[in-house]
Symmetry: C2
Subunit: 128 residues, 2 copies
DNA sequence: AACAACATTTACGTAAAAGTCAATTACTGG
DNA sequence: CCAGTAATTGACTTTTACGTAAATGTTGTT
């Protein structure tokens, strides 16, 4: 468990470019510390990158991912802010539940499509 | 159950623009029939649009959605093509399973984030 | 016939999310 | 100390997925 990772180490670990990591920093998604001008990535940054890429695979925009990673941070101290945050979290969860429904439906249709193919193969007398 | 729907009927039904529907046609995702130059959308087109939008919500690109909707069509007649199709379907399913893992992890993290907020509220003596 | 409402094609514009390239600057091993 | 590798910033480019506008066609009232 090292303390710091270089930018190229992260690009290899995650299969993304330096440009991408710098872009995420510009967009305020990550905040690697600096030694001089050089970025040093901590464990927390690596974890954030993992979360960002997860969000991307789920089709969230960078802006939406920005909202999500805010929710992972320390809860705010003020009651109004806390309630707002809870509301936002609930919205994102609804969003994710919709995606889950979409996902299950798509999987079901693909199952069906594969079955059709297998049946067709059987009709053609191919041993599966 | 009508036979044909106009383009604006579909835009209202799905909350998308005519431009979007024409774009999907240009990309070969849908093939509405024509009366003169006017597009007429059938049930099957409506179903396809629903599938396309599902794919979009899951973060698939138009090209990927194109591949997916091909899989929903009649299985090909040739053995080699069938086997290839089955392989492709399996790939997409793996893709979807990854998305499902991403989704569950994200949901779990959001659950945790919400709990933290609720706890914090309790600490502040707010009746939930 | 005129008007609205809806449709079409063509073409250019744009925002998001990087890719690519150039010119510097920083580090590191020999 | 210096070559070579790694990192930085900045600018420009590209791709995707449409938006938008212009000019024109079609249909259905009134």
């Amino acid at each position: 468990m090292r303390e710091y990772y270089s930018i190229t180490e992260l690009t290899r670990e995650f299969g993304i470019s330096t440009r991408t990591l710098r872009f995420y920093e510009d967009e305020g998604l990550i905040h690697p510390v600096r030694r001089g001008r050089t970025r040093l990535f901590r464990q927390s940054d690596r974890h954030l990158v993992r979360q960002i890429l997860r969000g991307k695979r789920l089709g969230f925009s960078i802006a939406e991912i920005g909202e999500i990673v805010q929710m992972y941070r320390e809860p705010p101290g003020e009651v109004g802010q806390l309630k707002l945050m809870i509301k936002r979290i609930e919205e994102k969860r609804e969003d994710l539940r919709q995606k889950r429904r979409d996902l299950e439906e798509t999987l079901a249709e693909l199952d069906h499509a594969e079955e059709s193919c297998v049946e067709r193969l059987a009709e053609l007398g191919v041993n599966t």
